[in-house]
Symmetry: C2
Amino acid sequence: MSDAPLEFYFDFNSPYGYVGAHLIDNIAERYDRKTDWYPIQLAAAFKLTGAKPMDQTPIKGDYLMQDSARVCRYYGVTYKHPDVHPFSPTAASRAFYWVKDKDPGQAKGFAMALYTAALANNEDISAPASVARVAASVGIDQKDIMDALDDPAVKQRLIDETDAAIKKGVFGSPFVIADGEPFWGVDRFEILDEWLVTEGF
Amino acid sequence: MSDAPLEFYFDFNSPYGYVGAHLIDNIAERYDRKTDWYPIQLAAAFKLTGAKPMDQTPIKGDYLMQDSARVCRYYGVTYKHPDVHPFSPTAASRAFYWVKDKDPGQAKGFAMALYTAALANNEDISAPASVARVAASVGIDQKDIMDALDDPAVKQRLIDETDAAIKKGVFGSPFVIADGEPFWGVDRFEILDEWLVTEGF
């Protein structure tokens, strides 16, 4: 088995991604693996698969609203469906990569703070200023983040990461790729675990 | 907690429904519950939700092909993706309800034989004659089934059951409703189990 990091893809709108963010590093640690986190613009993948945000899908949407809250309860993760949803995850995702390039560990803590703000505390994290406030709460300089969010290279980075993820077959959140094997959904983490135990089955 | 049966909805095309059919009665028995099985025409629900058969969805379809085979391996269920897929589940589903009205237990065995023919043995079960051959293998008279499949009331029954399922919010396979609580996907059976233990959480 390789020691490459488990690739963890998520969208800041996704309650299932939020639960996955609570779980993925613990799973990886059990097998002495690291993780590499990638926020993406799921809307770009949805354009290709024809999927829609949960709030906008007839019948299935009502179920997903109920199920996502239930899955959070099941895993003991505090959750409140935000008043505005889906919201733009663009600023949060851009800021994440900027932080990650300096300190991947801090970027994970930042991602958890962003997720908690959006999906537990009903804070609108779509605006750069909101993202910068959350950044400050985990020790990142607000002005640095605001400047970074204006940088064309930072903007391009998120486009490139999303494109690269889609090219690898990512279409949902959370999505894990372990040694090339894809796992979609927090409900596949049990099978991911078995995959890591058995080195493929 | 009620003693109403767990409602188990599935489509004969669905490998996840096939795995669910192997598991659902064991889960129910653990809690002294019965199950009531309902094959449906998932295509009718897909028209409302905008979903497509796994074979026809860009990116996501490739994943589902790989994942469904992996889920079958994980649960030890023999599976081969049929050469013709999706196939028409209409004759199989109509025949199921006709058998169920006489003997619900035999109908479950019949459903498992149909699933095995289609999803393990690559047999085309779309034609009435194929369904009748499978029926014969579980002790049901072939001619009786062929006659039943010509009966307008038997045809209407499947339309009515599918409509009723969709009205209850069923849009995928497998789909379980337990005391009004919906569970979509074989990956939700763990949470269904917890729900039955705790009488809701």
